[in-house]
């Protein structure tokens, strides 16, 4: 399967607004002023361009994440860690039962290159798909400029812990990370660290909440501390998670401050299962067979906790592991 980007063919939407069309397999993506148009062998699907770019940004930045990234109830990707399924209607019973679901599998590098190209070309100057809606401009209209700096941000992945020598660094005013407007009351004091000579790289502490208060992105879990395959991935959330994340393993949430309301649906059928209301100090598991979307009325801090063991998706799929983490 080859990824092809082309600006030779006339766009099927009939007007040249300056955006490149993108083709991968039998999928073709085009954009106009307001929509992403996705053409596939069984039809055409439209997604509002702001929602599409916000979802695409997460899919690209997360490396297709753990499991399924549903852009909306029809379009999405499934990560097989080396290959990626690009689908229409796969997680939508209406599409499946009518035999309208369509899936193609691509090498991760190929679909990543296509998605990165699309994100870069389709993001106009002034629009940051990682920012909260209140913090950024509009994505609409004919092509005008770009925002490559925003869409090419690298996700933070600490090897051991943020701030250690040779590990990922701190966020400060001077390196371009001011405190967010909704976190101006978050204390910025640093812990006292008294390391004896020779132990400077082991006796270590930092202000995680202060670090998070300076995050310039939303809904982007970043690895901050590591215990073997246990990854603590804090993130700051505001407005709405731009995707429905379908789990392929159990994931945990610890609410550090403020409140997030999660809508939980069955991962396969989309049938509503629960709402989970999380306030400061609350801890909840996201079972391996659900999908979830979060709503954060005020910017909040969420500690997403992941098990990075590569064997897990197969073990859950085979039924070797139950989809929930504890029995009582």
């Amino acid at each position: 399967m080859s990824a092809v980007t082309s600006n030779i063919e006339a766009p099927a939407i009939g007007r040249d607004l300056g955006y490149k069309p993108f083709t991968i397999g039998k999928f073709r993506f085009e954009r106009d002023e307001y929509f992403a148009h996705i053409f596939y062998p069984m039809g055409r699907h439209l997604v509002p361009i702001d929602a599409f770019l916000r979802a695409l940004m997460r899919d690209v930045a997360w490396g297709f994440f753990y499991g399924t990234v549903n852009f909306d109830p029809v379009l999405g990707t499934v990560n097989h860690y080396g290959t990626v399924d690009l689908f229409m209607g796969l997680c939508n019973p209406g599409y499946r039962e009518a035999n309208r679901a369509y899936v193609e599998t691509f090498d991760t590098k190929e679909i990543k290159a296509t998605f990165e190209g699309m994100l870069d070309d389709w993001t106009n100057e002034g629009f940051d798909p990682f920012a909260a809606p209140d913090e950024t401009g509009k994505p609409y209209g004919a092509k005008h400029g770009n925002n490559s700096k925003a869409v090419q941000r690298q996700r933070v992945v600490a090897k051991r812990m943020v701030g250690l020598p040779s590990d990922t660094g701190y966020r400060t005013d001077s390196n371009g990370y001011p405190v967010n407007r909704q976190f101006v009351d978050v204390p910025q004091d640093q812990p006292e660290v008294h390391a004896e000579p020779g132990f400077e790289s082991e006796v270590h502490a930092f202000n995680l909440f202060g670090y998070l208060s300076r995050s310039d992105v939303t809904w982007n879990p970043s690895v901050c501390s590591v215990v073997k395959d246990s990854l603590m991935c804090p993130t700051t959330e505001e407005n709405i998670l731009p995707i429905f994340h379908g789990n392929d393993r159990v994931e945990w949430f610890i609410q550090a401050c403020d409140e997030i309301i999660w809508e939980i649906e069955d991962g396969s059928s989309g049938k509503p299962r629960a709402k989970v209301i999380m306030k400061a100090g609350d801890v909840a598991a996201m079972p391996a067979d659900i999908r979830h979307k979060g709503f954060s009325p005020k910017r909040s801090m969420l500690l997403v906790w992941e098990n990075n063991d590569v064997s897990l998706p197969d073990r859950y799929r085979r039924g070797e592991l139950k989809p929930y983490p504890a029995e009582f």
């Binding site: 009351d185 995680l208 910017r299 989809p323």
Partner: protein, 165 residues
């Protein structure tokens, strides 16, 4: 212009959310609150509030001096409330074999080189480096979350701490 107020929790003041079931079992979400758990725990009990196979998140009520602990792997401690010191010693002999996972409670005071200490407050995260011995000291009650691996001191009492219906 509105002023934003960030709401954190503490032992003395927290508000708990919950699972509103539509068609599900609330137990699947293993829902608890670290401040509630710590408010009902003995000092330095390591109560499991998150479990992902062998990996755990433990909620710990920090009050007074803890026993000395050690692990063969890194751990991380996040202070959720209070002001807590963590003191580190490099033991003369590794107190925990490489093959053993989870933290181990040491008997008495470890012999070895002092590595230093940190003092953390709410929101501060400290490394508990592999092979070190460490002790928490907290004159007043506080709350820690420990990112670690399930060990002999990890306490699971889900039915007591989690929403069941």
């Amino acid at each position: 212009m509105s002023e934003y107020r960030t709401v954190f929790g503490s032992l003395s003041q927290y508000e708990k959310g919950g699972v509103e079931v539509i068609d599900d079992n609330p137990k699947y979400y293993v829902f608890s609150n670290v401040f509630e758990v710590a408010s009902k725990s003995k000092p330095y009990e390591k109560i499991c509030v998150g479990k992902n196979l062998k990996y755990v998140i433990e909620a710990v009520r920090a009050e007074g001096n803890s026993p000395w602990f050690s692990a063969s792997h890194d751990e991380a401690a996040l202070c959720m409330d209070g002001e807590i010191e963590v003191h580190f010693v490099k033991p003369e002999q590794p107190p925990v074999p490489e093959t053993k996972e989870g933290s181990v409670k040491l008997t008495g005071e470890p012999q070895g080189q002092k590595m230093g200490w940190v003092k953390v407050r709410r929101g501060h995260m400290a490394l508990l480096p592999k092979g070190s011995a460490y002790q928490f000291r907290s004159p007043k009650p506080g709350v820690l979350l420990i990112q670690t691996i399930q060990g002999e001191n990890t306490v699971e009492r889900w039915a007591d701490i989690c929403q069941t219906k």
